[in-house]
Symmetry: D2
Subunit: 355 residues, 4 copies
């Protein structure tokens, strides 16, 4: 049997636990040899649950005391620049959760460090590894629905993200934290960059849920024109409460393709004819994308082992960030914004409190 | 505009109301000019609801006092022989609800009267007029799934039928009253008569619901070999409580065809992620077969008008009765029974109290 | 039986044939006593097919020579103002196909004539009579999904409309001719008027199909903010080729509701395991909205008979036209446009060639 | 990290490859240290594909030369008795593919050896580990649909099994090789043993496919009465060609539950409105039960590690064999057969050529 890839998991919270569970239970090719979190209680809990013995306060400490080949970064977005660059400098391969970073400058710095130090960087856009979405991409590329002319994607997440993640000053808000996936999906499935974007937002639940940051929104439509001339639309709702929902529809000159579903299990019950048929919904994203989470880590392990380029790179991460910044500017200024404006701007994201 | 077909509706109860509503609301080519029911209250109620002025105690009275071209017979099965023959003798065309009659002798007598008096007889197997089932029949005939090798059909009805209709002595029970449709569907879709049949029954709710007749059953499987060598299976449940359910699956040498659905409306709601997606079910058969009920009456009107043969005839009704009799004998004697036995028997249905 | 409503059908083409078929076959309460079309061949064809004897070149001629209580207007949009006002002046009730008219001024003139002459005006927004959409509206009103926060609707039509209907100068283009229904659906389901709108368009098939009008588009997203603070999105594709597609998704503070479907029949076949399951799609709108077309005419007949207000009025028609005008201005000027701008403008639709 | 369970895989063919792939790719807790197959070419191919170095002609050789804790038996049914007993005698835990064996005597001998030598035996009824079926079992147990009254299950397999597996003399035929799963599913979901069974078979493709064994059949219905009074039905088709199909419907006194689906992926395409919507089907069983295959091996590893009883035991395997024997006798003798007859018979399976 081949040597296992030794992983340092950065972040022992929700996403860190998800990846720890996936690796421990379903990825024979990798082992978590170090776990990092400054929050002691969470560190111990996750360490115990997944039998990870090496536990550290910081990446710096782990680098000093533990042996590993790669990091999986699941910490808040504003820490990505520092952690990814530090890992790269120590020759560690990087699996980086979305969004890549807060700013284009941070994305550029990460990409530069990765290239300079010759490590592999894979972005955590797991939809590219989902069987439904991956088959869709392949079939669109093969021309099955003709030239793609229009795409609608949606991400509706059940629960309110933490305060830092719903405040545009510290995270770029829902566009970044929830619908980064959609920005990547649109570029990927349509084979074209976004040219301009218009965003409308609404806030219905903020006050009730204690999300009081200025410009907080929980409902959002982003409408785009792509460089290819095609159109795109993202629907974002968070918290939506009713479950986790991630679907897409693509129109081409020859027809339509529908990707994904809401149904969480092939199990339907009817015990009340006034109510009708009841079928489970995906409650949380780990259920919806269980295969994608396994596949993306398996893919990362293979890329590191074989020195091949990941299916989703820093460049892809950077484009999603650019879309998020243009979209945020759009709803703040109530007008369509081109990505070129963002690339050319001296300060593309004046609302940010810093990174 | 063409002259309307004048109809005498026999029976003002549940099924009579259904056909009265269909004709009054959706069939410009026909008008109900007479309504017959010995139960005065029901007669008045249905007469008022559908604005039918001619109301009578009996077909005999209606024949004497009213003008009409055809009868629609919706009364209990044991009355079919008398009413159908009387109508035929007076030159009235006949739309006859299923089951055709209790015995083969009664079927024969009706068929003979119809032929002798030159009237049109259409059986109420409305599935033949349902868009899903009708398209299925056409596509099977066209060879799309190859030679049909196996069929499963089901009828699960929500409520307990009246006492006469769940007692095998007065109605032949569920096999006749509920799954007559399935017997006809199997012959029709498979293009073959039944050769032998084996039936298992179970009784779970009888006592609780007051269905105390000997041999009462509420769950039933009928397994058949057809003359073509293909196999058939009917699943019958009544009362099933959860809604009205009528579906079929056909296997052919080339593939499979699934016909019908449980979903009553293209409307799905999720407001509780622990519960999931909720979609209406067909609650009662008028919802499931709304188009079929319209189409079968429109078809009857056209046959009468043009003197053409109905899509479903007395011969078809007789075959369904033969299947019911063989099936009933099967579960009473706990063995497979051939239809030939039924055709040859001196008394094919000794359990019957008379007709 | 009650007296039939006598109808003069204006327009013997595609939509005129649809309504003629519906009325003749499924609406006992009405009869078409006059048919009007200046195109002789079409007039004869439709007249023969539906056995309508009174055939005329113009409404003027029909008013002179025929007896009728109401008109059904299915002619091109630019004729609506003249025909509706003429009908009202002669005391004829009006069923008017969408879009109501080209301009707000025309809508106002029609509404005024209708009020002045005391006739009934019902707009042909048949989705309000579709069982799925109607049940959705009722359940949203009842609060089932909480306060509505977001809606997505779509209309994708299979074939290229006639030249006048895809040129914004003569018809306001796809926004009007195809997605008028969506504008009405959004207002109706969300219980709120549109406040502002942003539209992106794309043209992929125009050249190949001979649609050479300036500003022709075949793919369109319209994104809206409603007065209630909720958001709306329409996706329009025409010609989409793959079938007729009309669906909606509504998000509320409590959950989600999905309305409608693509599947045209509950009949699934698999005869090739590399291809998979195959199910019919709605090919044309008469299939998708068969019940809605019956129900809306039955509803119109009842309103005329009982003097009640139709479920969908001239006011509703006017709001859809306002949305269309704002949306058209939006994509021409590449900015969000408020409906107030349209209401306040001296010339709200400078692109129009006249009405 | 815990020590890996060392597995000797018996059989390098189709099923051996499936389990080898599952273990190698998705089960960190186990490693295949020995592979056994007398067919050298297959042994080398599978050994190479999954990087298994220890390769042997026979279990005897492997026991002598290799170190392992458990065996996974995927060889033809008639070898199960010998291999399972030999493994037990050497203290190896056993994962045994279905059907357990050809005869009840063989089942008894295996169970006795397992008990005597204190090893763990898990049967390969993977449906018990499928998320849909497992959730169904749990919800039925919890009383959600009331008392179960009726069950229909089906297994339709795409391709013709090898000659030994479609000849009742060497394998008990399709009832055993294909629908063993259904016999287990019925007992498990209904919580009751089978009391009697009636089977009808048909043969449509045998001649064309070279399946010339006497009593060969490719279509089969098995109808049962359970000890609880409930009814059961199995539909078996093999080869069905159109894909792999495994579903169940359970009726209870309160309602209905539908388990499983045909759709292989949440990806629907329409590019031809005359054809309609096209969705992938499960082509082969590894696709349909991918999670179940992972979960059952993970479950086996845990049972061995913790010394707990597997979810599906030798006793379960034996009941399925008893059902198969009664069913085979039923169609040979054209009558219902009780399981008691099989248990009491001197020679319960006279058609068998020996084991």
């Amino acid at each position: 049997m081949t040597e296992q890839l030794r992983i340092c998991m950065l972040g022992a919270g929700r996403v860190g636990r998800l990846h720890s569970g996936t690796i421990t239970r379903y990825v024979p090719g990798a082992a978590i040899t170090a776990l990092v979190d400054p929050a002691t209680e969470i560190l111990e809990q996750t360490g115990n649950d997944f039998e990870i013995n090496g536990r550290y306060d910081s990446l710096e400490e782990a680098l000093e005391k533990a042996s590993f080949d790669a990091v999986v970064i699941t910490t808040p977005t504003f820490t990505h620049r520092h952690l990814a660059i530090l890992a790269a400098e120590h020759g560690k391969h990087i699996f980086l959760e979305k969004p890549m970073a807060l700013s284009l400058a941070a994305c550029d710095a990460i990409i530069e460090a990765v290239e300079h130090h010759g490590v592999i960087l894979q972005m955590g856009f797991m939809r590219r590894f989902d069987p439904d979405f991956a088959a869709a991409a392949q079939r669109i590329r093969a021309g099955e629905i003709g030239q793609p002319t229009m795409i609608k994607t949606l991400t509706h997440g059940p629960g309110l993200p933490p305060a830092w993640a719903n405040d545009i000053r510290t995270s770029n808000g829902m566009l970044a934290e929830v619908t980064s996936h959609d920005f990547d999906t649109i570029r990927w499935l349509m084979g074209s960059n976004i040219q301009r974007i218009y965003v409308e937002t609404a806030n219905f639940k903020g006050d009730d849920r204690g999300a009081t940051a200025e410009h907080f929104y929980d409902n959002m439509f982003a409408t785009m024109r792509l460089e290819s001339g095609a159109l795109g639309n993202i629907s974002g709702v968070c918290p939506c409460d009713y479950g986790y929902d991630a679907r897409a529809e693509v129109i081409g000159t020859k027809g339509i393709m529908l990707i994904g579903e809401m149904r969480g299990q092939a199990l339907t019950v009817c015990i009340n004819r006034e109510q009708g048929l009841v079928t489970p919904i995906f409650r949380r994203w780990p259920e919806r994308f269980a295969w994608a989470y396994i596949n993306e880590i398996q893919g990362f392990v293979e890329c590191v082992r074989n020195g091949t380029t990941p299916r989703v790179t820093g460049e892809d991460g950077r484009w999603a960030v650019a879309g998020v910044l243009a979209g945020t500017r759009s709803f703040l200024e109530e007008r369509p914004v081109t990505l070129q404006e963002v690339f050319d701007a001296e300060n593309p994201a004046p609302w940010l409190a810093g990174e």
